[in-house]
Symmetry: none
Subunit: 205 residues, 4 copies
DNA sequence: TGATAACCGAGACGGTACGTCTTGTCTTGTT
DNA sequence: AACAAGACAAGACGTACCGTCTCGGTTATCA
């Protein structure tokens, strides 16, 4: 009857066989989740709602995902694709950062993106496993892209050789993130320019 | 006379008379809320739980607060007192920032403070009114304190005269906040030192 | 055991001074109660509703009446006046009974009277004190009126000298009441005629 | 589209599938209801109390019954079984009626039966659907049994051929019912005897 | 003619129950 | 065995009233 090899053993919890998974149900669930996040927002959507909309039993969701957040994360992952999306590298670090951060700002000013990101932030606060997943899958690749661009800039002599590039990435994204999350002030292109300017001054050789 | 000022009229919703508020119940509710946040965390506490613990009818809570979050915010406000707590000003900006930010880091590494702050962050994401309250009451005074210290430093010629101090405040707190909130890396004193160093380099005259 | 002079000893329960009673409040309460019984029915009216409608504090109601039922009973008593209303006595018992019972049937076929009577019936079932009050104040005088008429008929030799007149009254009113209360069949004048006929046959000398 | 058969459409209100009903829960609920009626009486029992006692979620009750009264009626129906219980027919109508009505009186003098019957009477007053159910399921069969006995007596020439037997049934049960319900006088065997005597005098050929 | 009770309107209070909602598990066929 | 459907136990939600308990503010009786 199995059991022995299961390390996390709270209930009998027979792991489902992924080979028998219904692709139709899987797709329908992610579709429904994506649609609902857009329509009513993360907080107001329910497992029952997803199941009903997907034409799926609730058990089918619970069989494959541990929580609503996990479903939505998967839906998001599917849409975002798996690409790392490296930053542009024109040789002009300031210009490249301005382009990318302006685009980021535009995106976050979008109702849709704002919503889903806030939902993830909220969810991440009381679920460490989910936090890890979101961080590694959505955030880390993004931060790595920034770091790669900074490495290239360092090689080009644009920024100081002994700067801590992990902190440098946070210096660029942290303030913007702070302002967006806490709504302390509007996110504008002008703000991006000031921020990039100031951050790069800290990194000059 | 009567009612003219009521714009949002869904139910009759007669506002209660604050002069007749029971101090005993008020205190008991905030006590219970504070205790429960510490014991089970914000997400798992309930209005029923608060009421039961406070020895109070649920209606008494709903009469004075619109949501669980509002109760906890009040509990927090009461504990935090109303002081703005200005930053130290020894004449050495870097040293002063290091002291304050190291203290902040220590605080955030505390289970209790971590919990309650994450709870507020989560809650703030799907309640704009609550967001405004938290931002203005808890966050803004803190940011103002930083800005005041930077103003003093600018007067002393320690930092550039034309730096945008609002962004400067975000440059100091944003990265730390980002790292804490998203748990991308541990919060240490060493990190604070690197961060202060880098941020101040951006502000040098 | 204890409490010495207090016969009804649950709380201190100082009896209010009827001399100081506000006639305005008294009247307003009974008016409100009467209106509400008609509008929403006994079961759906509330003490709060009566108080609000009468422009009166709830305590003022509880000071003078023990229950909603008692208020409504008083309202009813006020309207019904105190008259015993003796049955007509034309010398023809059957005719007199037919007149009175037909009128009763018409009354009970009225929405208003039906409602209030059903409310009393319902209430009387789980409140013995109230039951006694209703029985003595509303029912007993009515039954006495019937009995008086039967006594007169017996004196006139219309009915048997040794008939139990208390049972005779029930023989006339019980069937009608049963049919009305349990809605087993419609209440019509024809029914009254059949009933009177049958009942009087039982009482013939 | 769809839903065509739904005339009363307030909420979507999907009817539950009776084939999937849990027999365990069903039984436990009726058991709990029956027990509670006996222990605290109908008026003081609550849906929450039934659910708790039955070890059942409240929703499970609301899924299958519209009200507390309906649950108790079902509990009662289950106990009463479906039998019509015809009246004895010894050929002596008066004796048979005396036996049956004396038994009825004894039953109604029982705390338990008194209680449940009063509860039904009270409930029936403000719920026409429930009234119909109670009347048809509990009362009508009983009245039919009386009528059948009277039919037999008429065939035997014991009572008048042209008597209205529906009214005759009421003549027998109405007075007794009136006295019990309104507590105007005690229910005794002597009373039954007087009543039967008087009523049969009305029916004599 | 004050003083001083008590009543009064108002409505906050501690409670109980309501009927609804959602959660995560369990059950019953179907594919 | 995975699936759609949905019943189930649990329990929080926010509301409605209950009957009691303050609050001032008026009366009305008595010293």
């Amino acid at each position: 009857m199995a059991e022995s090899t299961e390390t996390d053993s709270t209930p009998p919890r027979r792991a489902p066989d992924p080979r028998r998974r219904s692709e139709r149900a899987h797709t329908a669930i992610l579709d429904a989740a994506a649609a609902l996040v857009g329509e009513v927002g993360f907080a107001k959507m329910t497992m029952e709602g997803i199941a009903a909309r997907a034409g799926v039993g609730k058990q089918t969701i619970y069989r494959w995902w541990p929580s609503k957040a996990a479903v939505v994360l998967d839906a998001f992952r599917r849409e975002a694709g798996g690409e790392p999306a490296p930053l542009p590298d024109t040789g002009d670090l300031a210009a490249d950062l301005r382009v990318v951060l302006r685009a980021t700002v535009d995106e976050y000013n979008t109702r849709e993106v704002d919503r889903i990101n806030r939902a993830f932030i909220a969810e991440v606060q009381h679920d460490e496993d989910f936090a890890r997943a979101v961080t590694e899958d959505l955030l880390r690749p993004n931060m790595t892209a920034y770091k790669d661009r900074l490495l290239s800039a360092r090689d080009a002599g644009e920024i100081s050789a002994d700067a801590d590039l992990d902190v440098a990435v946070e210096l660029l994204t942290g303030p913007l993130y702070h302002r967006w999350l806490l709504r302390t002030a509007p996110l504008t292109h002008a703000y991006v320019d000031v921020l990039v300017d100031m951050a790069l001054r800290a990194l000059r050789p």
